[in-house]
Assembly symmetry: D2
Homo-oligomer: 339 residues x 4
């Protein structure tokens, strides 16, 4: 069965395994205080052009989101997110479990806008309500869409006006960085966001995310939060070594490029087959709208997710490609579509 | 510098890396629903002689402790632990952060006893106080000591009498299983405990712990807890593959044996050099009492932890060995001790 | 200035003060274990025709909601509420602060429906999402509307089908019980709900709510929850004495009747003045739509809340009457409306 | 049966009821924004000689403690308290339920000392442990003892040295203020503490505590915390009116004086009867050590608490007097003691 279900169906980009093997018997300090983690941090700071940023390595996206948000907010403060945002939908209430409300706004193609954020702030004028304090974005969004630099700047502006922190979830950031239409690079994120993470799990790592916190005040005490939330690996170097590989040169972006190329072939083929799309996504997540009968037939051989019903005989599905997707598999899949 | 500081200074038992490399390009389901995780679960159930047990893989010890305890308790219930217990001392209040009190009792050589547990229960007679509901043991304890089967049975009895759940932290379980004086094996733990974990991080894995929950009712809904606490790896098979290796035959116990052999040489050498010990530990953690001057001298070349001051010129230190410790390093260390 | 802003602008229904004075120097047990609290519980059980119900007295509505919901849910479970529900809007994230998500569904005139509840359940099919477990209703709703008995029965049915608990917030229950169109009485609530509260603060008490828990299993351990959340008054009899007065005969309903009568005069007058209403409310909360200029003029002498803008020159406002509202004040207010 | 069990067995100091009756039909704003609450705040600020202090009224002691502590701490920070402190023993884990550890130190006659606090800080040197951030004192302590001004100054000093907040629980502050040996008055507390509360429930109010927060930065956003924790009464004036009475002139201290006088007669009588005491308490809580047989006999007619067993035939009991205790009852009680 071919996996079009997600971008974490395989292991790691092979040089990562080689690096783990090469360093296996080195004795180092634990908890991310080893030379590899330090080196990976330096590489990330350099790529972000932000020598002052704090950088921490965590095991997964939900963990990263809950640690950062729980760390950033006072007990009565809340995060603003698009209603399709991962923290609103697929984290089993992880944010609420740390005591905070996630205010869901009706996103536009999976994205927040500056005016939606302002609307959320104005709807919470007093202490009978939570105080909005952090904006959560996903880039790419859960619908595969991207923020343009101008959009992110407008969001930063509204955040500054209302004293909100801006946090960006980059679970699939490699795919964003490699997208043709992209104009937001790591130094932009470091300049505009108070915190963001560079996703590893979905972009070639065995597991792991690199949380970058350019806002030094926000970074204070974060090691306590990591330990308290069970997010600090004893053998922290496992994460450092992986990001040493990913952050070498343009490796990370190249892995995104590979995923995007596979998605482009798939997108093109679907379009040729006459499929409309739920949303235009320039990244490695595609949401074609297919007839129910075809879906049933494809499910025999392919594994993918049903996103939502669009009319009584059609549903949008989600296809995802990755650094490990093989072109021949995509071609074979497309050959099964009705002409 | 030689690490006597912990048992997580190196990478993984090499066959684990080989298995990761061998399986790297397989496409599998995520979140532990892959064939390797299923196989590892089957191996663990078989070794525990407990075909009904739920088995989950997590990334680290603090995470495992907080997930299980938060899952097990109602909001007003508390865990009972020895005052030296990991949850009381070295987890940055992780249990409290989930809303629960950890009741610290004065442990005996790092261990709880049936009568200490009863004392804790009787000291909380009404709803002006928390309700003790779970007993947390570490085996080996944080002082390297072991529970005898008779002791664990007595603890199980008091737990049953007072409707307490019994949970055992096996971060260094391999060392316990391999200890000469040990009479508690996996089937005993599965029979006597409501839940326990088989430590991977400190016993040869890159990272990872296998949580075994023989109590089926306690296991209900645990996937929700895992996801909510950020403890569910997307590429869950990373953990499954590692435990496939560790749980093959007597691999896990052999890794503990290796650590214990190195500790035995070290213990013997220290004893010959006339060192007293803070506590008699039959496992891979040793707590010799050394003069301050010698400690200062050793710290030049060796990395270890100061446990506590014992008199005005002596301190107990902690030396830990692992599956990766080399005999020549231990011999060289011993040769530096004053005759 | 005349208060049309809320139903808690005055002190208590005078016989309550008399009862407090009469009993002032009695020496009794604390924490609600006194004879007055016991008697009040007996009166409530009798009026609810539910001799088995647990009854607890708390200080306010937010406190009651958060105690019951935190008590009822496992950490990964959530409450379903109308988006206008008090727990979603005006409790500063109190439910989230206990770790739980409140799932907001788009209410119909402030009310949930059986099908909205089912929709919420079906949208949360697996452990990547919270598990809906409790339904929160307000009766009257925050828009003054009432559930009919048939509606509540349908909701009970869907709750039973999906193993949901049904909890009803009766902050203004007196007004509901006294409404002409009402067909839901205390015995109905006790039969259909797992828990509900009889509001005191907004219905004649100095402060206090009576939480009725017909579901005995849900009631277990609730004293622990009360104490832990700071909701247990040392002089618990203050609450018992007040409910002894309110639950004597038809006192409680009569206080609601008085509020409703004042609302009826106000509603009639507004209608005669040609005001449309945001929603048809048969209880003591009215939501007339007024021109901005008139609102500005009325605000000089009257205190009330702006509910929402309805078009560019009109807003819906909220007027509330109470047991203490004086007819002459309402008449005078109406006389100020333009003919 | 005579209540020597607590100081909340009766209603309110009668002028409080009179004030409630006198103001009953006034229409005022809710949530403590009424003129009575404002006046009460002004009286408290004046008595504290601290015109800048924030003052909030809450319903009870546990609620006050949990609100202030949850408000003051970051998620990984902890409170230091004596092991006999109310937050450690009799609040059903209320502090832990807000996510924070209470570090229990072995108190001296129920009191913390500057050196115990320093010891607690030094025992938590890094982020593997919680960060001590707030010191919780009770004055009088739970054993009836008092801090001297010099002791509180030393504690303030250690707090300032280690950046700790100092919070004082004054549940029975009236008794402290009225004690002969007392040298700590309201202006001292306002100067030395970051926050403290003036207890009403146990000192003549129907219910209610006045939380004083001289540290303006700590006070920021506290209304959010109050609302979120269910601690904000809609009819907030109920609390304001009561403190208007208590804070008029020396009323509050006089109520403490009355309680202390009754305790003095009782203490003297017990001493004459040859009773030793568990601890020397100059306030309204006494802890005489009585033979088991006498205790059994007294329990027939008197209600009091057993504090702890002191030897195999004796136990320390707790007797409490209040503003409402009658001298003839104390005399009669003493007459029952064996000569």
């Amino acid at each position: 069965m071919l996996y079009l279900k997600n971008d974490y169906a395989e292991g790691a980009y092979p040089p990562i395994l080689e690096a783990l093997a090469r360093t296996n018997l080195e004795s180092t300090d634990g908890y991310g205080e080893d030379p590899h983690s330090k080196h990976a941090r330096a590489l990330i700071r350099a790529q972000c052009a932000c020598p002052e940023a704090a950088v921490h390595f965590l095991s997964g996206g939900t963990q990263t989101n809950l640690c950062l948000i729980a760390h950033a907010l006072l007990p009565y403060q809340a995060a603003i997110a698009a209603d399709t945002g991962h923290i609103c939908t697929h984290e089993t209430g992880a944010i609420e479990a740390t005591g905070h409300k996630a205010i869901a706004m009706p996103g536009v193609d999976g994205k927040l806008t500056a005016s939606l954020i302002e609307e959320a702030v104005l709807a919470h004028p007093n202490h009978h309500m939570v105080e909005p304090k952090l904006v959560y974005l996903s880039h790419p969004s859960e619908l595969g869409t991207l923020y343009k630099k101008a959009e992110l700047k407008a969001i930063r502006e509204v955040c500054s006006r209302y004293h909100l922190l801006l946090y960006l979830d980059g679970a699939r950031l490699a795919s964003a960085l490699a997208a043709e239409e992209n104009d937001l690079f790591l130094p932009d994120l470091a300049q505009l966001c108070d915190a963001f993470y560079i996703g590893g799990t979905k972009c070639g790592a065995l597991f792991g995310e690199a949380l970058v916190i350019p806002n030094r005040r926000l970074a204070e005490g974060f090691l306590y939060t990591l330990k308290q939330r069970g997010a600090r690996l004893a053998k922290g170097r496992m994460l450092g070594i992986q990001f040493e590989v990913l952050m070498q040169g343009d490796t990370y972006q190249k892995l995104g490029e590979k995923a995007n190329q596979m998605a482009a072939i798939l997108r093109e083929g679907l379009r040729e087959a006459g499929c409309p799309f739920l949303v235009e996504s320039p990244t490695n997540q595609l949401f074609p709208i297919l007839p129910d009968a075809l879906i049933g037939q494809l499910q025999q051989r392919y594994d993918f997710i049903i996103q939502q019903r669009t009319d009584e005989s059609h549903q949008a599905v989600r296809f995802i490609t990755s650094w490990a997707t093989r072109e021949e598999d995509i071609r074979e899949f497309l050959s099964e579509l009705p002409a």
